[in-house]
């Protein structure tokens, strides 16, 4: 905690990243109290109003208040992103640990490992975005499909990260010792391999949450995610798309700014975790103190 404070002191932008994420969570929790307008109630009298004190970010073509919708979007977008990331991290780490651990441990297990890695190659060589859209199309549009699609396209990274870690940790003396003392494979992986390889995974998590927000918004923008009246940044940008050519910039611009800042904040946090999780770089980063 203290380390984090020292680190951010010199890097106000990183500090901003942490602040903004907490701020978002705060807004999401108290959305009902903070948002001045109901997020889904069309108000035809107020359609396409420019930003003003009455409508801070203006209104869209059906007269819904963009500021309120932006705030309510946080709930949906962050939940999708957190859940999607969590699922892909848990499943990916588990697979990666087994794959890494089993490589070169008996013939059948090796086959299992290399087969999994080839399968990952195939998944990763799909055009990511179209793949995600196709998944949503196959499972039917809906929240769980989006989460599943996000989890699925992100998973290979965790498998790879974890595999690399498992491969090197497996060679360590203490793991060998535990193995020889008769610990079963599964408990070895749970007790030794996983806990000792969390560093790179943790630093990827934060960045990944940001990406997932971006992917969720992009899916909605393409029409394969959350559908229109539900407040969601991507679909709000899509709704405002028509208006921008005729000069009403606010329906698309504000959700985009909030979305961009959110992803940027997670990226900043990820960058700081990457440094702080590495003892050498952590010491270098806070050298002065």
């Amino acid at each position: 905690m203290k380390v984090l404070y020292l680190y951010c002191k010199d890097r106000p932008l990183i500090g901003f990243g942490y602040f903004f994420v907490f701020f978002l969570i705060f807004l999401a929790v108290f959305a009902d109290l903070i948002a001045p307008w109901p997020p889904q109630t069309a108000n035809p009298d107020d359609y396409l109003q420019a930003p003003s004190w009455r409508h801070l970010f203006g209104t869209d073509e059906t007269g819904m208040d963009i500021f309120s919708r932006c705030i309510y979007s946080i709930r949906l977008d962050l939940s999708i992103a957190f859940l999607g990331t969590a699922v892909s991290a848990i499943v990916g780490t588990a697979i990666g640990a087994f794959v890494g651990y089993y490589e070169a441990r008996g013939r059948l297990k090796t086959v299992f490992s290399s087969f999994t890695m080839r399968a990952l190659d195939v998944i990763q060589s799909f055009p990511v975005f179209v793949f995600a859209i196709a998944l949503v199309a196959i499972f039917g549009q809906g929240l769980y499909s989006i989460i599943a699609a996000i989890a699925f396209v992100n998973m290979p990274i965790y498998v790879r990260l974890m595999r690399t870690q498992a491969l090197s940790i497996r060679q360590m003396r203490y793991v060998e010792a535990a193995y020889l003392s008769g610990l079963s494979d599964v408990s070895l992986i749970i007790k030794h391999i996983v806990p000792n390889s969390m560093g790179p995974i943790l630093s990827h998590l934060s960045v990944n949450v940001g990406w997932s927000v971006l992917l969720a918004a992009a899916l909605s923008f393409a029409g394969a995610g959350v559908e229109a009246p539900t407040p969601e940044w991507g679909s709000m940008i899509a709704v405002g798309f028509k208006n921008i050519v005729t000069g009403q910039w606010w329906p698309s611009t504000f959700p985009g700014i909030v979305l961009g800042l959110t992803v940027f904040s997670f990226a900043l946090i990820g960058a700081s975790v990457e440094v702080l999780a590495d003892p050498v770089r952590r010491r270098a980063a806070i050298a002065k103190y």
């Binding site: 975005f129 179209v130 199309a137 940008i237 000069g247």
Partner: protein
């Protein structure tokens, strides 16, 4: 000779991968609930047509047999028909992929022209503003939704300033496309020597290329900077310094050594953008392949989606082969 062996080894890895892609997409297709024949032909199909496709696809046969039939069709270049355009998917994609490739290629060229010098300078001038700038630029560029940035550019440069061409496709309505040689209007209008068309093409390319280029310059800057950082501290560069070589020579050597990494990131971005440019295509009504596939997905028109997946897999394969050739040209250690 070494080259042929090198490529051969590469193909040995890639061909199974290609097969895997086709297999996975086939079985994904099979997972879609509902009658596949209906999905293939669309909601407007007649009963006879449905019966016909059933027997052509062998829907009464086993899954494996169906897959073999599907493979044979794909290999003979038959990707089925889109019920939306009522044309063979192959024909549609041949028209649309050049549009996508043109957009993606020019965007990445722009990203490279911007990213490499900035990355090198950021690495050379450790304490400069450009170093700080490039660190945060990478993070920021990765965070902005490209479709949104495209919209903002349209608003600023088209709606307000009126500098850019209308975001409605690749050419103004009144202008005829140049004679087809490569399918890229940019190249074809140059070949035809038709300056009016060329200028119009460039005007329409500017904003989407700017959008994708600025966003994708981020990872290129980051990669260039971090590899240059590593190389400038490496043994052989330090040794070259202690031989008294000039700074220009040093940077040139370091850059040459960082080319493989830059090439890698470019190939990753390229293969991502073939499908990933779709949202920018939508924003600028580009009419590219991604847009075609997307509308296939959203309208339960499955052949275009499958066709797109197969095509992009093949294009990626070609791309990786070209990249391999470049690695081969750069690094003598690969030659034996």
């Amino acid at each position: 000779m070494a080259l042929i062996r090198y490529i051969g080894r590469r193909l040995l890895f890639v061909l199974p991968q290609l097969f895997g892609i086709v297999a996975v997409s086939f079985f994904l297709l099979k997972m879609i609930p509902g009658d596949p024949a209906l999905l293939m032909l669309g909601p407007l199909a007649s009963q006879e047509a449905i019966n016909e496709i059933r027997s052509v696809m062998g829907l009464d046969k086993s899954l494996i047999e169906q897959f073999v039939i599907y493979l044979e069709r794909v290999l003979s270049g038959d990707l089925g028909t889109s019920w939306q355009t009522t044309k063979p998917v192959m024909e549609d994609l041949l028209k649309r992929f050049p549009a996508t490739m043109e957009l993606v290629t020019l965007s990445l060229l722009f990203a490279l022209i911007l990213g490499i010098p900035v990355g090198i300078l950021a690495s050379l001038l450790k304490k400069s503003i450009i170093n700080k700038f490039s660190t945060y630029y990478g993070l920021l560029a990765g965070s902005l939704p490209d479709f949104w940035l495209g919209l903002i550019f349209i608003f600023v440069f088209y709606t307000i300033l009126g500098w850019a061409a209308a975001p409605m496709g690749r050419l103004d309505l009144g202008i005829l496309p140049p004679a087809v040689v490569s399918g890229s209007y940019f190249i074809d209008s140059l070949i035809a020597g038709d300056w009016e068309t060329f200028n119009n093409v460039v005007a329409h390319l500017t904003l989407p290329v700017l959008t994708l280029g600025l966003i994708n310059a981020g990872p290129i800057i980051k990669m260039t900077q971090s590899t240059m950082d590593r190389l400038l501290e490496s043994d052989h560069i330090r040794y070259a310094r202690s031989c008294g070589l000039g700074e220009f020579q040093i940077v040139r050597r370091a850059f040459r050594n960082s080319l493989p990494s830059v090439l890698t990131i470019v190939s990753v971005l390229y293969s991502f953008l073939i499908g990933g440019a779709v949202l920018v295509e939508i924003v600028f009504s580009w009419g590219g392949a991604g847009q075609y596939a997307l509308s296939g997905v959203l309208n339960a028109d499955i052949n275009p989606v499958m066709g797109f997946v197969v095509w992009s897999a093949v294009l990626c394969l070609i791309l990786y082969l070209i990249v391999d050739l470049l690695y081969f040209a750069i690094d003598p250690r690969l030659r034996d």
